[in-house]
């Protein structure tokens, strides 16, 4: 199917199913139960899941395949966002031209940075990309304020020209982002018994783009190009002596991942038309690195999982306050309730960083391949249970991919 073998097609189908059914899957708890706190199926967070998923998928094409660890990819995300917002300000509120421009500008920007940074490898490369991104951030925060609106972030205003659209709505507000009239924020809420599910136009646009982005990365992973990238990671010398110049391959990977980042940035701005400079800070670049490693660098689906994991903590755990804890444990006797709340208190709400830090350490220590490895171990456990003998070698003619490019 679609030029994929059976296994990859299955992976793709799973991703499609997950993405399309996310509003159900992420809202497993009835909306008035104590556990509703853990529901993540509201439009903004779902959008973030897939958008950062796209960012991480793209980053993984560079890092997972070539091993070049860029510490400056947030710069492309930021540039993408700024481009998109400018498009909204100047052209129209339709997201398609904005997203296209984000990709193009981020692509151009990554040609520039990639060309220079790729003259070095290893840690020297990482620091070069970091330096470029930090420069972009610092400039965006202050000197370039006329373009970026500095600290506050680039916003839409009521007097933007918007040559192909309206400056303000009839009711005197800033018009909403849309695709040919379909507003990104329009949401259909389905109430089923105690459950409530949100179907948001913006989310589905992002989800479809994410599926396309994922499919693309799947193809790249299985392509000769992907193989070359892995060869770059493994032994550049040998590649050179095999008659292939590694540089165009790495540069192409860099640009592709830069464009993915630009796409993610454009989508972020399309869902919420504001572009803040912090998007370009090293911590943001670090975040996508963490997402990728946490999920499993070099695996197909890992980065998406990693992105979801981190965003979930940022948005859900940070909102659990003592009040909520008391509600959960209110069924317990007074003393016990207070003790439990006291014990959990440092780990939630303002302590969500602490929990995240501990989880980083646990995951990377016990699951060297990231979350994907966790999944693999689980499935192996199940398979072992169901089928004890599984040692017959695969008679298939062509070799399977080597393990580090697994699902």
């Amino acid at each position: 199917m679609l030029g994929l073998d059976k296994k990859d097609a299955t992976i793709l189908l799973v991703v499609i199913a997950l993405a399309l059914l996310a509003p159900f899957l992420l809202n497993p708890f009835p909306s008035n139960s104590g556990l509703a706190q853990f529901n993540a199926g509201y439009p903004d967070l779902m959008q973030r899941f897939v958008i950062f998923g796209i960012f991480a998928i793209g980053f993984n094409i560079l890092f997972g395949l070539t091993g070049y660890l860029s510490f400056g990819h947030a710069a492309f995300l930021g540039v993408g966002s700024y481009s998109a917002v400018w498009m909204f300000k100047l052209l129209s509120m339709n997201v398609l031209p904005a997203i296209l421009l984000s990709i193009v500008i981020a692509g151009l920007f990554s040609v520039l940075i990639g060309y220079v940074s790729l003259r070095r490898s290893g840690i020297y490369f990482s620091i070069l990309t970091l330096a470029f991104a930090q420069m972009s951030f610092n400039l965006a925060y202050s000197v370039l304020t006329p373009i970026t609106n500095g600290e506050t972030g680039l916003q839409l205003t009521l007097d933007d020209p918007r040559v192909l659209g309206q400056t303000a709505t009839a009711s005197g507000n800033i018009p909403a982002t849309n695709v040919f009239g379909l507003e990104m924020r329009s949401t259909y809420t389905m109430d089923v018994g105690a459950w409530s599910f949100d179907f948001n136009a913006g989310y589905y646009l992002c989800a479809i783009i994410m599926i396309l982005a994922f499919y693309l990365s799947l193809r790249i992973f299985r392509s000769p190009f992907g193989l070359m990238l892995r060869a770059v990671k493994s032994n550049q010398q040998r590649l050179n002596y095999t008659g292939l110049n590694p540089k165009p391959y790495t540069l192409a990977a860099f640009i592709i991942s830069g464009m993915y980042a630009g796409l993610a940035g454009g989508l972020l701005a399309s869902m919420d038309p504001l572009a803040g400079a912090e998007r370009m800070q090293w911590t943001a670049s670090g975040e996508v690195v963490l997402m990728t490693i946490l999920g499993g660098a070099g695996t197909l689906i890992g980065p998406v999982l990693g992105a979801g994991f981190i965003k979930y903590f940022e948005n859900i755990f940070s909102k659990i306050n003592d009040n909520v804890l008391h509600q959960w444990f209110s069924f317990l006797p007074e003393g016990m309730e207070d003790t439990l709340v006291f014990l959990l208190h440092p780990f939630v709400g303002k302590g969500w960083h602490l929990t995240l830090g501990i989880l980083f350490m646990l995951v990377v220590t016990f699951l060297p391949g990231g979350l994907v490895e966790g999944g693999q171990r689980l499935s192996r456990l199940f398979r072992r249970r169901s089928r004890d003998t599984d040692t017959t070698p695969d008679p298939e003619h062509h070799p399977k991919e080597s393990p580090h490019v697994a699902e």
Binding site: F63, G67, L69, V116, R119, R120, S121, G122, I123, Y124, I127, L128, L130, A131, F132, Q134, M135, N138, L139, Y141, S142, V143, W282, G286, V289, L290, T292, I293, L294, A297, P346, G351, H353, L354, L356, G357, I358, L359, F360, M361, V363, V364, T365, P368
Partner: protein, 343 residues
């Protein structure tokens, strides 16, 4: 001229902080090859050693003073530090006043212990793992350390002054024949600079005049073979980690009076210290120190008004700009060794 001397002095001072942090980082990152994102946290822990000692020394008992009232109108509780009660108000106050220098003694064993624990408990499993994994685990650790400090000390900076005699500044310009007030320099920064020199010298001497440095470098390049030669490299790595933690911690202790410590001060320095180490060249201690001073001085120059008039915002980006230029003209930074983390 005076302005230039002034900025060189400032640069030396900033540089000694950068150099000291980079020195510790180089021991772990440049020499052991572990990308240690928790190094900033170690620096921060050092500073909080000073804070803690300060707190310990000012541990107080409360007495109620009926003549005064607190903000709610209740009788005021007055705190008297135990040390003042034990040693008399003057000696007690003097001891509290000298809390920061005293913390050096306090910090060394603590930081070494933290370094050991960190290496034995965590890092040792990661020598053979990809750098990416090291980043994740040390970043996780950094967050945890940071959050723990925040849990106990809050997010706000905590003033930790230097002893009274080091407060204020002396007029350096007068010594050089300039007018008064042209070149002034705070005493404590002078102390910091000298302290940095001593530590840097000490670490250099230790690694230069013993085979320790060579063994650790060899161990990093090829652990297996070093083991074959009968050397227990694990022990040395642990020791090296302790040393690096101590250097980072001492840098932090002495930095506390310069800027009030807060829980995220480590993260603020982290990126910069990586840049310094890499610009200096991976695996090179002199490189790290040189780069620290160089970047410190350049940063100071870039903050001069006339420089900023020519290139607005140059002080925002100077470090990164210089880093890029150096890395593009010198493939392995200023003094990097071949083959260290180039893949």
């Amino acid at each position: 001229m005076d302005a230039i001397i002034l900025q060189i002095l400032n640069g030396l001072d900033k540089g000694s902080a950068y150099a000291l942090i980079a020195l510790g980082l180089t021991l772990i990152f440049g020499t052991l090859g572990v990308v240690n994102f928790a190094h900033g946290a170690l620096f921060m822990l050092g500073a909080f050693c000073a804070v803690t000692l300060n707190r310990l020394l000012t541990l107080s008992f409360e007495t109620i003073d009926e003549t005064k009232t607190d903000f709610l109108g209740n009788p005021m509780k007055v705190k008297t530090p135990y040390v003042e009660a034990w040693f008399g108000p003057e000696t007690g106050a003097a001891i509290i006043d000298w809390a920061v220098p005293l913390s050096i003694l306090f910090a060394i064993p603590i930081m070494i212990a933290i370094g050991f624990a960190m290496e034995r408990g965590l890092i040792k499993h990661f020598y053979k793992r990809p750098h990416a994994d090291q980043i994740l685990v040390t970043f996780g650790l950094a967050i945890v350390l940071q959050e723990l400090i925040k849990l106990f000390f809050g997010a706000n900076p905590i003033p930790t002054p230097a002893p009274d005699i080091f407060r204020g500044s002396f007029d350096f310009g007068v010594l050089l024949g300039f007018d008064p007030n042209v070149i002034i320099y705070p005493y404590w920064r002078m102390v910091y600079f000298l302290f940095a020199m001593v530590i840097i010298g000490g670490v250099f001497a230790f690694l230069q005049f013993t085979t320790f440095g060579m063994v650790v470098r060899a161990g990093m390049a090829d652990r297996e073979t070093v083991g074959l030669l009968g050397i227990d490299i694990d022990k040395r790595f642990t020791f090296m980690f302790g040393l690096a933690a101590a250097v980072a911690g001492l840098a932090g202790v002495m930095y506390a009076p310069i800027n009030s410590p807060n829980y995220h001060m480590g993260m603020d320095f982290l990126v910069l210290s990586f840049v310094v180490v890499v610009v200096g060249g991976m695996g090179s201690l002199p490189g790290a120190v040189l780069a620290g001073f160089l970047l410190g001085i350049l940063e100071s120059f870039a903050s001069m008004t006339w420089v900023k008039d020519i290139v607005p915002g140059i002080d925002q980006i100077i470090i990164y700009l210089v880093a890029i230029i150096i890395l593009l003209t010198r493939p392995r930074g200023l003094m990097g060794r071949k083959g260290v983390m180039e893949d």
